[in-house]
Symmetry: C2
Subunit: 231 residues, 2 copies
């Protein structure tokens, strides 16, 4: 149930840093021994080899892994790995890097669940610094998914209610109970509602997205026994 990261370049390195922060279990597939020697990470986190080869992916435990990130510089290599990985594990979550816009569709067709174009995200980010600087600055300093100083959290219906009765957002009494503010609702079929109405019904399989300061989020995590998966 671990994560496989193919390629420890700039992109893969940054992904790994975040996985380390959140104490996720991962293994890196990297071809270059020099990169492995220089990285400062534990050697057990590495398999030296070419992720283009099925036996290397199998050695990395692809058949029982949950997620694969492929972050090689060449789109053709990522495409090959996505295709191989999908054949070896149907249930795998596959996230691929791409350089060219035109590779997006190909990688999706090959079986990637998410395709990340760094230059596209970077360009949007640059323009956003012009059109909405305060909003970008505000978002950039929000923290989520980690153990400390978290400002955003997701809470599932199942975490909020032991019993299975329906209930509305108003009934949660969230602000008074935790100080947090509800800013989103995700329906059981994956639709998002931004700034949901207090009368919004909560049903099994739904989630809410909340914002708060560090203390408020901690209070929320305690109140709903949210497992932050961090010790």
């Amino acid at each position: 149930n671990h994560i496989i990261v193919c390629g420890y370049g700039r992109n893969g390195k940054q992904a790994v840093q975040k996985l380390l922060d959140y104490k996720k279990d991962f293994i890196i597939v990297e071809q270059d021994q020099q990169v492995i020697d220089d990285c400062g990470l534990d050697q057990v986190n590495f398999i030296r080899g070419n992720a283009n080869e099925d036996e290397v992916l199998i050695k990395a435990g692809i058949e029982k892994s949950s997620t694969l990130i492929t972050a090689l510089p060449e789109d053709a290599d990522n495409l090959f790995i996505v295709l191989s990985a999908r054949q070896l594990n149907k249930d795998l979550k596959i996230i691929s890097r791409a350089t060219e816009d035109t590779s997006y569709k190909k990688l999706k067709l090959a079986g990637a669940d998410n395709v990340i174009l760094p230059d596209t995200i970077g360009g949007q980010h640059m323009a956003s610094l012009i059109v909405s600087p305060d909003l970008i600055e505000f978002w950039d300093q929000l923290s989520y998914g980690g153990s400390e100083g978290v400002n955003l959290e997701q809470v599932s219906f199942e975490q909020m209610f032991d019993e299975q009765r329906e209930c509305s957002i108003l009934d949660l009494n969230m602000r008074q109970k935790t100080g947090c503010t509800i800013i989103g609702y995700k329906s059981p079929d994956g639709e998002y509602i931004v700034n949901p109405d207090p009368s919004q019904k909560l049903t099994q399989g739904s989630k809410i997205i909340v914002v708060g300061n560090t203390d408020q989020i901690q209070q929320l995590q305690r109140a709903y026994r949210i497992n932050t998966e961090v010790t």
Copy 2:
């Protein structure tokens, strides 16, 4: 008071697309005539030349421009342009792309206000898809800074109050007046408070960040006569 974009590669292209969406006034400096011919944009948006040369930046109107984005593939070129641009215009907002982590500090020293590392952002985004998929999905579908379907907006004290008296967030009666929810406060000296308390005082130079659905944000924009700078 326009924007200069140096380099129309993947990065620059994406930034330009966003500037077009928001009807911003810009000019692109690009060396490669083929890129200019193939881009499908109006020729008036281009200056053909090397942004490394002061006279090209001057021709692009750097002395009366508000912002410069430099998005060339080589960090050394971006560094050169940042340094030249800062010398030509002290008040310019300068945003630079960088490939290597180690260039970040150099570009800042040379005079860049913001440095964007696409691979770093891309890597973080990839890992975020694992550690907090719902939060990333929620944020990615929030829209801001444009004309349609906006979910986030910033409102300044000056937009909220004609008179200069102090007032608290509670006094705004935001939820009842517009349906929007206040999720952030920016103090006059640039500090952010996430999920501010209703008792938070609003003073001259401060701002609030609000979230809402499309209708609610429109109501907010009407209520506070927010100029979205889009026709």
